[in-house]
């Protein structure tokens, strides 16, 4: 019997294993999740064929953005399906804690994100000559935190989506503004002050900043630590709010 709030490790890992097993029956989704970031990086490398510096900045930023977007989409659809298929109602009538369910999802998609990021980072660093001064392991760490943030956001919005159509539309609504303001297109301090202030409040900005810190500095900078703390804190906060949207009793 789990007390409210306390996690049950076996139930969490059983849930994570179940989510991964579901994915395994869907090889096309796995292939898309793993290959699309690589293909995009590859394309970018040759789009910026003449300016390797631009590729460095944009490439590093994208290494942080891909896991966020992918996990956001996958999680929002997966939890929505869980709600509409009745399996969520069944699970919540069983001795499964809400935290177990959410941690299970985070664990499963976190694992996928590690594989996705390892592939993308490896490709970028070793084959596309992405010039990282810091350790590629730190790139991987940021990517993992970004994936958790994506999972958290996806879980959260799925509570407000009544259909797959709506869930997909949350992507432009939640992700695009962050994408525009995160410093991918222009440095954030070059934006209109109002937009800069908004971008300071959006978690993806910190994800991208953290990637760029690793890109430019050989050791751990305080800015980097602050950035990843913000991303991790946001992910945790949104996960907790997301847990609150899971109701055992529904209308």
């Amino acid at each position: 019997m789990t007390a409210a709030g306390a996690l049950s490790l076996p139930r969490t890992t059983a849930t994570a294993a179940r989510v991964l097993r579901q994915l395994r029956h869907d090889p096309r989704t796995i292939a898309l999740m793993l290959l699309v970031p690589c293909v995009m990086l590859f394309l970018l490398r040759y789009v910026f064929d003449a300016s390797a510096r631009t590729f460095d900045t944009i490439g590093a930023s994208l290494l942080g953005i891909f896991p966020l977007i992918t996990m956001f989409l996958v999680t929002s659809i997966a939890t929505l399906r869980e709600r509409t298929s009745g399996t969520l109602e069944r699970l919540l009538a069983m001795p499964l804690g809400k935290g177990d369910l959410i941690a299970g999802y985070a664990l499963a998609f976190g694992a996928v994100a590690v594989v996705q990021s390892a592939l993308a980072t490896g490709l970028a660093v070793w084959f596309l000559d992405l010039d990282v001064i810091g350790s590629p392991w730190l790139l991987l760490l940021v990517a993992l935190l970004d994936a958790l943030l994506g999972t958290a956001l996806g879980l959260f919005v799925s509570a407000f989506a009544a259909s797959e159509f709506q869930a997909v539309q949350f992507m432009p609504a939640v992700i695009f503004p962050q994408l525009l303001l995160c410093g991918l297109f222009t440095p954030r301090d070059a934006m209109h002050p109002v937009l800069e202030a908004i971008s300071d409040a959006l978690p993806m900005s910190y994800a991208v900043d953290a990637m760029n810190e690793v890109l430019r500095h050989a050791d751990l900078t305080t800015a980097f630590v602050r950035d990843i703390t913000v991303v991790a804190g946001c992910a945790l906060l949104v996960l907790i709010v997301g847990a609150a949207t899971l109701k055992r009793r529904t209308a």
Binding site: M1, T15, R18, H25, A93
Partner: protein
């Protein structure tokens, strides 16, 4: 039908008084009072939309906006300690279509009782697979099964562990007569051999005759409660179906006169 009258009287499995549920802005259940005795099969019958699924959701504790008294196995409905003691089958099969039947059962078994040894859990899964006659399809994807097969997977999940109370929302819809007979035999053996309590909703009136007890509902209210024979005698009908129709007509007539005298 069976010799169950010799059991000692005991606290009912479900006891409701003044049970009211609001869905949307409408009251869907209106001040219900009823009991579900232990170790028996209680059938929940009534026209579509009368509130059967809502009542079952209230009993398992997944329905919001429930007021009044609703005690289940000696606890208020929805109490955390009830979650391992109740098996629930939702009206639409609620299993993962992208997992095999066995993977579905393995997962739900792990959620239900993670402390159980792997071998015991596998044994449990084999047992429920045999109960719903799906052993031959254990390794098929649930999503590729027929509708009736999928609803049996959903039933199998509810049979995992040894729930004291089974709440089954139309578990035999879309099944052929042979399977329906087999499942009803299973329900009877669960009640008589294992002492489980079953609350089963149905549209099919001939299934009503197989229940020990019936709750007839109409428009969010309980029209009648009692053994099938008793309901037949009371209304002077040969079948529960006719008895039900007479009760519905009587209630409708009563509602009309009430309306006109107001």
């Amino acid at each position: 039908m069976m010799n169950y009258s010799s059991r000692p009287p005991e606290e009912p499995a479900v006891h409701a008084q003044d049970l009211t549920v609001v869905r949307g802005s409408r009251p869907v259940l209106r001040g219900l009072g009823f009991t579900v005795p232990r170790g028996r099969i209680t059938g929940l019958l009534g026209p579509s939309g009368c509130g059967k699924s809502t009542l079952m959701r209230a009993v398992v504790g997944t329905q919001a906006k429930v007021t009044g008294t609703l005690d289940v196995l000696g606890r208020p409905a929805g109490h955390p300690s009830l979650r391992t003691r109740i098996g629930y089958v939702t009206q639409a099969p609620s299993v993962y279509g992208d997992l095999t039947v066995r993977q579905n059962l393995d997962y739900f078994a792990a959620i239900l009782d993670p402390g159980k040894a792997g071998a015991d859990r596998r044994h449990d899964v084999e047992r429920v697979l045999a109960d719903v006659d799906l052993t031959g399809h254990a390794d098929s994807l649930a999503g590729t099964l027929s509708g009736g097969q999928r609803s049996r997977v959903s039933l199998a999940v509810a049979l995992l562990g040894t729930p004291e109370l089974l709440v089954l929302d139309e578990p035999t819809v879309g099944l052929d007569p042979v399977l329906r007979r087999d499942l009803w035999q299973l329900f009877h053996s669960l009640a008589e051999d294992r002492g489980a309590t079953l609350l089963v909703s149905s549209h099919v009136m001939d299934e009503a005759e197989r229940c020990h007890r019936l709750l007839l509902m109409r428009a969010g209210e309980v029209l009648a409660e009692g053994a099938p024979e008793a309901l037949r005698t009371r209304t002077g009908a040969d079948t529960v179906e006719t008895a039900f129709l007479r009760l519905v007509d009587e209630a409708a007539a009563a509602a009309r006169t009430e309306e006109s005298t107001r």
